[in-house]
């Protein structure tokens, strides 16, 4: 009983410290080590750390050239299901989307779209974002194919 309480306290304070760091990947070794610890304690695999937790369990790669038809479909879906909270070029209720693929893998983006509850509960990066933006990302009921189209839109020059 006591031990588990202590463990919770430790992991909570650890999580708090982490979110306090607020850096975006340019931290030094110390931070890496902390992230590693967090990863082990949250029980996430390397795949999950890089590609997120959700229904997409195999790495999705983008083609060398953008599939414009798919990107157009993704743009329409984005406008319908996402644009109430995300703008392409500016921070709104959630972060701007123009450079998201520089920060996250395509698979990660899909899992964030398809499993926002699980991500903000269990993934350290998504948790950080929730603390920063305060509004939890809603599940908009998209299919994997639709989430894939939105990623293609992010990869395109469409706005």
């Amino acid at each position: 009983m006591k031990l588990s309480k202590i463990l919770i306290a430790v992991s909570l304070s650890l999580a708090f410290m982490l979110s306090g760091c607020g850096g975006s990947g340019d931290g030094g070794n110390q931070q890496q080590t902390q992230a590693q610890k967090q990863q082990n304690e949250s029980g996430l695999s390397d795949f999950e750390m890089e590609h997120g937790i959700g229904p997409v369990t195999e790495t999705i790669s983008l083609g060398d050239e953008v599939d414009m038809e798919l990107a157009q479909k993704g743009k329409e879906l984005f406008e319908l299901k996402c644009s109430a909270c995300h703008k392409v070029n500016e921070r709104y209720i959630g972060p701007a989307m123009n450079d998201v693929l520089e920060r996250r893998s395509p698979t990660y983006v899909m899992n964030m779209i398809l499993n926002p509850d699980g991500m903000t509960k269990n993934h350290p990066e998504a948790k950080k974002l929730l603390q920063e933006f305060m509004s939890p990302m809603p599940n908009q009921g998209l299919s994997q194919e639709e989430a894939r189209a939105i990623v293609e839109f992010f990869a395109s020059d469409l706005e």
Partner: protein
């Protein structure tokens, strides 16, 4: 309460009533359990687990349909049907108010009585539930995919739709019959006549509502009946499929002090209707199209889920004096109330509320009597069969004031006794009472899931009591009605649970949860939103002025409105807030309310568009906000509307986050 050995003399009733009332007053008779923990275990649904059955209970004078989980007795939902519901704007919003249109104009309240699940092959199928409205005669169809009222049809040439809304075994028809007869001339027009001309001018009707494969209702035909009161109904099944049975009382044709004057005859009638034969007559073009103005309201799923009304002017009327073989009268003791057909379809059971026995008619004997024209006479051209020729048996000592019967599918019937406040279990074949259990107090209907179908789930019985008294913490003079859940899986009935029910549950229906769960909608897809005033993204939000009408195309998502700052509205404008909920997840409605609205809030389901009308009367800035706590930033989900003077010319401006 101890049972009295009752004499089969009706004059004893007042004494017993007095005794029952005295007993209610004392404390202590609470249904002593042999084992409380055993009962608790049977009704305990652990946190996170789900009930085994849905229970649908009419809300009676609240006009709605209550949804309960069984065996826990938890009240899990209320479907607004015949009454405006301020809780979500049903009957107030532009999309739903047409559901309450009638030939008498907008009627904001109704008296819901008998819910009945749709059936396929005599078994409940979980598609729809129908329910009747007694006061302004109507029948509603509720879709169990979304737990919403999808259609309401008015019953013409009727005055009090009580014997309704019972379905045939494949939901070919839903029944309706007038409780109160009224004077109607040969053209079915209301008459300006003295009420004491009752016997000459008052007539009744029994109606059959055809239900299409998609659920659309229309009144296929009406049968002209003698001017009695028509009370309850149930369809035949199995061998008796094709027939429907309706109780009548007031064969005395009294028009005043019915309490005494309609209780004189030893026997009234069950009307046996051969609906299949009547339907054949209709196909042949028989009967007459008569005036019968009625309104049908329906949700138009093709156009944004907006309720629409249509008026139908005529109805086909069949006269049993001209069309042979569609109606027969079965003499039945003492103002029968319920009429119930057992799962085999062979036995027709009447609850003669003033009778000391329960008569059980045999369908085979009824057919034989019809074939051999074994009549004791006729009433207004309708043959009356001989009681002794059609009787299977009489249940002796069934309790006082038998009203309604349901079945367990194992050969037993369960009848409520209102006056002696008990449920009596009896063997259908030999009509012997085998068990009895007290209820608290005075049960009307009772319900066994599937208990009026061909396939009952004979595990639980719910007694729907009319009187509550000391069963709950007192809440002043008015109390919720009490229901009792009784285990009927063994030889002896066992009382498991008391639970309160809202309004007055007359009848109820129950169904295995999985039959309904599998067809649940969790949200409406934005892509499928066909509402003409939808805004399915923030980019589509806007304000359009047309004279003094202003249309605000608004969206909601956790946790902001777009637009949330609105200027350019004037006193005297009629403002329509068309609010589309952009959420696409289960159980994330947003609410919309604005200060001073002479209206109810909107509660907008994910993907849905609903419209509130607001006519500002004062200059100023008026806040609006989300009424349903939606996220950690719910308190931030607000906006302002600036209202300028009537004679000003303000520019329309709107936005969010600018």
């Amino acid at each position: 309460m101890k049972k009295q050995t009752h004499s089969h003399r009706f004059w004893m009733l007042p004494a017993v009533v007095l005794l029952s009332v005295t007993l209610f007053g004392c404390n202590g008779s609470n249904g002593n359990f042999s084992s409380n923990s055993d009962a608790a275990q049977k009704v305990y649904v652990a946190p996170g687990e789900l009930d085994e059955f849905y229970g649908f209970m009419s809300g009676g004078y609240n006009g709605q349909l209550g949804v309960y989980g069984l065996p826990s007795g938890r009240h899990i939902f209320t479907v607004p049907v015949f009454s405006q519901a301020a809780v979500n704007g049903y009957g107030y919003s532009e999309e739903t108010k047409a559901m309450l249109n009638t030939s008498h104009g907008f009627v904001p309240w109704g008296d819901a009585h008998h819910p009945e699940l749709s059936q396929t092959n005599g078994e409940t199928d979980g598609r729809w539930i129908f329910i009747n409205e007694n006061n302004t005669p109507r029948v509603a169809r509720i879709g169990l995919d979304e737990f919403k009222t999808q259609e309401i049809i008015e019953i013409p040439n009727s005055a009090g739709n009580h014997a309704s809304a019972f379905v045939t075994p494949n939901t070919e028809y839903v029944s309706a019959a007038t409780r109160f007869s009224i004077p109607m001339d040969e053209n079915m027009q209301g008459m300006d006549v003295s009420i004491d001309s009752y016997k000459d001018t008052f007539r009744g009707t029994i109606s059959f509502i055809k239900v299409s494969d998609e659920g659309k209702m229309n009144i296929d035909f009406q049968i002209l009946m003698p001017g009695f009161d028509y009370d309850l109904s149930h369809s035949g099944k199995g061998p008796s499929d094709g027939w429907a049975f309706f109780t009548s009382y007031n064969s005395e044709q009294a028009h005043t002090l019915l309490e005494i004057n309609a209780s004189k005859n030893d026997k009234d009638f069950i009307a046996a209707i051969n609906w299949r034969k009547a339907a054949e007559y209709v196909k042949e073009g028989k009967g007459t199209m008569m005036p019968g103005k009625h309104v049908r309201n329906y949700i138009d799923h093709e156009e944004g889920g907006i309720a629409k009304s249509e008026t139908i002017d005529e109805v086909r009327v069949l006269d049993p004096r001209e069309l042979e073989g569609i109606v027969y009268f079965l003499p039945t003791p003492k103002s029968p109330h319920g009429v119930d057909v057992d799962p085999t379809g062979q036995y027709i059971i009447a609850g003669g509320k003033l009778s000391t026995v329960i008569p059980v008619h045999s369908f085979d004997k009824m057919i034989n009597a019809i074939d051999s024209e074994d009549y004791e006479g006729e009433v207004m051209g309708i043959p009356v069969l001989k009681y002794d020729s059609i009787l299977h048996g009489e249940v002796e000592d069934p309790g006082l004031g038998p009203l309604h019967t349901e079945f367990d599918g194992k050969g037993f019937a369960y009848t409520t006794a209102f006056i002696s406040s008990e449920v009596v279990k009896w063997d259908i074949e030999n009509t012997q009472v085998v068990d009895r259990i007290d209820t608290y107090y005075s049960p009307g209907h009772l319900m066994i899931p599937g208990g009026d179908s061909q396939k009952p789930d004979g595990k639980y019985l719910v007694a729907l009591n009319k009187i509550t008294k000391d069963r709950y913490l007192p809440t002043g003079p008015e109390m919720f009605h009490s229901a009792q859940l009784i285990d009927i899986s063994g030889d002896k009935m066992q009382l498991l649970l008391d639970f309160p029910t809202e309004g007055e549950p007359h009848y109820a229906q129950g169904i295995k949860a999985e039959k309904v769960m599998e067809r649940q909608k969790r949200f409406y897809k934005l892509e499928d939103n066909t509402h003409p005033y939808r805004a399915t993204s923030e980019a589509q939000t806007r304000i359009e002025r047309d004279g003094n009408e202003v249309h605000v195309y608004m969206t909601t998502i956790r946790s902001h409105f777009a637009p949330d700052n609105i200027e350019g509205i004037k006193v005297g404008d009629k403002v329509y807030f068309h609010v589309t909920n952009l959420e696409q997840d289960w159980d994330v409605p947003h609410g919309f309310a604005i200060k001073g609205a002479n209206n109810a809030e909107l509660l907008i389901m994910p993907g849905e568009t609903l419209t509130m009308t607001w006519e500002p009367q004062q200059v100023g800035v008026f806040p609006f906000y989300c009424t349903d706590f939606c996220s950690a930033l719910h308190q931030e989900m607000q906006g302002y509307v600036r209202v300028s003077p009537e004679n000003s010319d303000p520019e329309i401006k709107y936005g969010t986050g600018q």
